[in-house]
Symmetry: C2
Subunit: 232 residues, 2 copies
């Protein structure tokens, strides 16, 4: 009886530790989503002050990645988890990497916002607003799916990336047309090009998060597949 | 005595498994370096056939990522490694991710090579050749440092990324100038822009590999620092 009680105690402690890294990951996800939103706003509202604060706060995102990685290493070393629990820890370690990269993209967008705020004749804000909305939506949906470990939501969100890719292609074509019509705009429009490219990459990272959810819950690996049909 | 013999046996088996995933990672690294080299060649030599083969072979790179990840999970679950060994396994798992992303950049470059092969008046090949040389060099140096677990070489290679970033900025400025002088070239030069951006990202991923080597060997985390002075 004592042994069982002890085992339960250890299992309970382990669950608490797992919950803790999940909570840390969700906190990091929330922070990154805010960073992305602010970076898009800093472009659309030509707000270089907001852009500065995004760049400043990126350090905190980087710190969180290291903290969570450290927590994952500790949990593996101390608890030696197997099967699903191990997959969860490994997945958290991959997921923080994607979140950190989304944070990086937000920082890159903020840097372009500062460059753009110094220029006249802004162009491309409609495109950034539209693509930005899509990128924020896929990220928030991925984080929601993660919070509930909902594979159906994850698969639906995974497929959402296709629309972002289409919107990205459209914005790219419009940018080229605009530059050809007004070559003096080229340097400025290239700033916008990097922004829409960053937003497209946010979609890719959100897609990775969705893959990781399915990987943990189902134990199958859906990376390197384009689209899923089994969402209904 | 028997117990020690058994333990030695297990330790030896574990070492063999670790060596195996290291060997797999090096094999993947060699494949990815070849992919990068071929993708650069496909641009510079306007060889869409070579570009096709890069795109085709990327599937094999993706498969290798999954295989090595699976091997890492198995080794953690079965051997429950601690301290340095655990860091090694975690690091391999991160490193394959960077290698896979370098493979992705090679595929993206190959796709641009196909688009460029359909156009007249090629421009930007000098820039691609120059930046490509830098990207290949940092990748090969990172893989060499990895093969020998050489932290000094890793730190030296880490700093090499600065030069790539400078070359990237130069190529970017030249591209803008070229487009302004000849607006009919815009669409074509944007193809080149994506290529030089991909090459710059290869430098970032190679830098990540170097960080991971130091992380494993020294147990310190050097991510999110710009440059290291302790190379000598």
């Amino acid at each position: 009886m004592e042994e069982i009680a002890l085992e339960n105690h250890i299992v309970k402690q382990f669950d608490e530790e797992l919950d803790e890294i999940r909570a840390l990951l969700m906190a990091m996800g929330g922070m990154v989503a805010q960073q992305l939103q602010d970076s898009i706003q800093s472009i659309v509202k030509v707000d270089s002050g907001l852009a500065d604060s995004v760049i400043e706060r990126d350090k905190r995102v980087d710190e969180m990645e290291l903290e969570i990685d450290e927590a994952c290493l500790t949990i593996i070393a101390r608890r030696q988890p197997a099967a699903t629990d191990l997959r969860l820890v490994m997945m958290v370690s991959k997921a923080v990497n994607d979140l950190e990269r989304i944070g990086d993209e937000a920082k890159k967008i903020a840097k372009q916002a500062i460059l753009l705020s110094e220029q006249e004749k802004p162009w491309g804000f409609t495109e950034v607003r539209h693509l930005g909305k899509g990128a924020l939506s896929i990220l928030n949906n991925a984080l929601d799916a993660f919070a509930r470990f909902d594979t159906e939501a994850a698969l639906r969100t995974f497929n959402q990336d296709q629309q972002i890719d289409l919107d990205y292609q459209t914005a790219l074509r419009e940018s080229v047309t605009y530059m050809m019509e007004d070559p003096t705009s080229i340097s400025r429009v290239i700033n916008i090009l990097w922004v829409i490219r960053s937003l497209e990459r946010v979609g890719d990272h959100a897609k990775n998060l969705c893959e990781q959810i399915v990987f943990v819950v189902r134990g199958t690996d859906i990376r390197h597949q384009a689209v899923f049909d089994d969402t209904h």
